[in-house]
């Protein structure tokens, strides 16, 4: 690492080269092998489609709809996940009443609930939020349960020796101690929440990137579909980065090594 090349170049040049190579290969593949650009549109066509969709006002609005659905569902599902984990780990009675069913539900593919939820709540944004919430609830729940139950015995002894109440133990030791676990669940949940919103839009919606994707599909506008996929990837990156940012900020004492390495 004792190079004289400035830091930003050293850091961003390799991925830039990799991306450029990928784009060039993708651009030239249909020409070289004579594949129809309708089936495998080159990046230039995708970029044109993206501009076209943007120009017709279809990208930003639908992007925001799906963003709100995924993020709203994620926030609701995560809060419920932490709350139920709290209940289950606080009371043995509640644990024995609820946990078998929560684990049973966990085995069910949650997207299978999506048609039902759309029937119940309708084709509006609310049903997508509900689906995203259901799907991101479980990883947060499971990880929070593990986090709330994984506390060094001596930390609890310290609290007990001070005659701390159950709530004080939770607030001062158990909850902060569980944050690395909860964030492991949140990292999974945020990605799943986009899947949930998208599946909901596939089943029945009049807005959102999933709805747009289906419409383009009906019209066989494949380069348009690619453009939507790019925007979806962007959405995923933004939401994941948001959770990562909170992760680094809030769980500074237990940073994963790969996060630390990129930051000095």
């Amino acid at each position: 690492m004792s190079s004289k090349i400035p830091m930003p170049i050293r850091r961003y040049l390799p991925p830039a080269i990799g991306g450029a190579v990928l784009l060039i290969v993708w651009e030239s593949l249909p020409r070289i092998f004579d594949i129809s650009t309708l089936l495998l549109p080159p990046p230039s066509a995708v970029a044109a489609s993206m501009w076209h969709l943007f120009d017709r006002g279809l990208l930003v609005g639908n992007f925001l709809v799906t963003l709100v659905e995924a993020l709203g569902g994620f926030v609701i599902g995560s809060i419920l996940g932490v709350f139920f984990a709290f209940l289950v780990t606080r009371s043995e009675l509640i644990e024995r009443m609820l946990l078998p069913y929560l684990i049973g539900l966990q085995a069910l593919p949650k997207v299978a609930l999506a048609p039902l939820i759309v029937v119940w709540i309708g084709i509006g944004i609310e049903s997508k939020i509900a689906i995203a919430a259901v799907i991101s609830f479980f990883p947060v729940l499971i990880n929070a349960i593990v986090g709330f139950s994984t506390v060094e015995a001596e930390k609890i002894d310290l609290m007990r020796s001070l005659v701390a109440s159950g709530w004080q133990q939770f607030r001062i030791v158990i909850f902060p101690n569980s944050l690395p676990f909860i964030f492991a669940g949140l990292n999974v949940g945020i990605v799943l929440s986009i899947t949930g919103a998208l599946v909901g839009e596939f089943i029945g919606a009049d807005r959102g990137l999933g709805n747009l994707l289906l419409q383009l599909n009906y019209n066989m506008d494949i380069s348009g579909m690619f453009a939507v996929l790019v925007v979806l990837a962007l959405l995923g990156i933004i939401l994941y980065a948001l959770v990562r940012f909170l992760h680094i900020r809030l769980v500074f004492w237990a940073k994963p090594d790969n996060l630390r390495a990129g930051n000095n």
Partner: protein, 264 residues
Amino acid sequence: MTGSKMPLIDIRGVRKQFRSRSGIEIDALTDTTLAVEANEFICIVGPSGCGKSTLLRMIAGLETITAGSIDIGRARVTGARRDIGLVFQSPVMLPWRTILKNVLVPAEVLKMDMARARVRAHELLALVGLEGFADRYPDELSGGMRQRAAIARALMHDPNILLMDEPFGALDALTREAMNLELLRIWQASRKTVVLVTHSIEEALLLSDKVAVFSPRPGYVREVIDVPIARPRSAATRTDPVFIQLADRLRGFFQAEPGGGAGH
């Protein structure tokens, strides 16, 4: 010292049985009797696994008593009580809190006046030699410094009794010697009643007014030896003829045990 006949901590015929995983009852402590006078510094010395830490946890009210009784100031111990400060073998710092906020944990649990608690916490950090480290996080400090912070935390709520479970056992030999002298200085300044568990004969003699010698498991107090060495003591105390003579005598206890090592 005071001549009063009522000991502060009165341990009478205490037994502790554990049920092992294979269902066998194991005696950890059998018929342990010990009296600790107010403002006395007493060390419990014994081989590993003799139940000395269990006894300390029973005094702290963290462990049930199978038979016998422990009274503190005429009150039967039935659970944890807030006039005890506890120091564990490891510092048990909360890594998401600064050193100052770790020291303030007892103040928070006991709902002390926070402005005054903060002043006291800074005084205690000065007492243990950590003035400049109030706003550092535990992982920025060495093991010895973290253990000093743990001692400051144990003194935060001004308990009558300080219970220390091999507090320097995890430190290297040089740090340990320095910490012993530090503890002498801190004790001279605060004059708590201290019960310290160790398996170091030198540590016990340097620190205490009395040494309680434990037998190997099942443990009981074989003998209580007075340490008539004048205070204040220092590193030079180790060359005092009385010190050397008592160290020999204590070693004799453990060497006599077939197969039972006394540690270092």
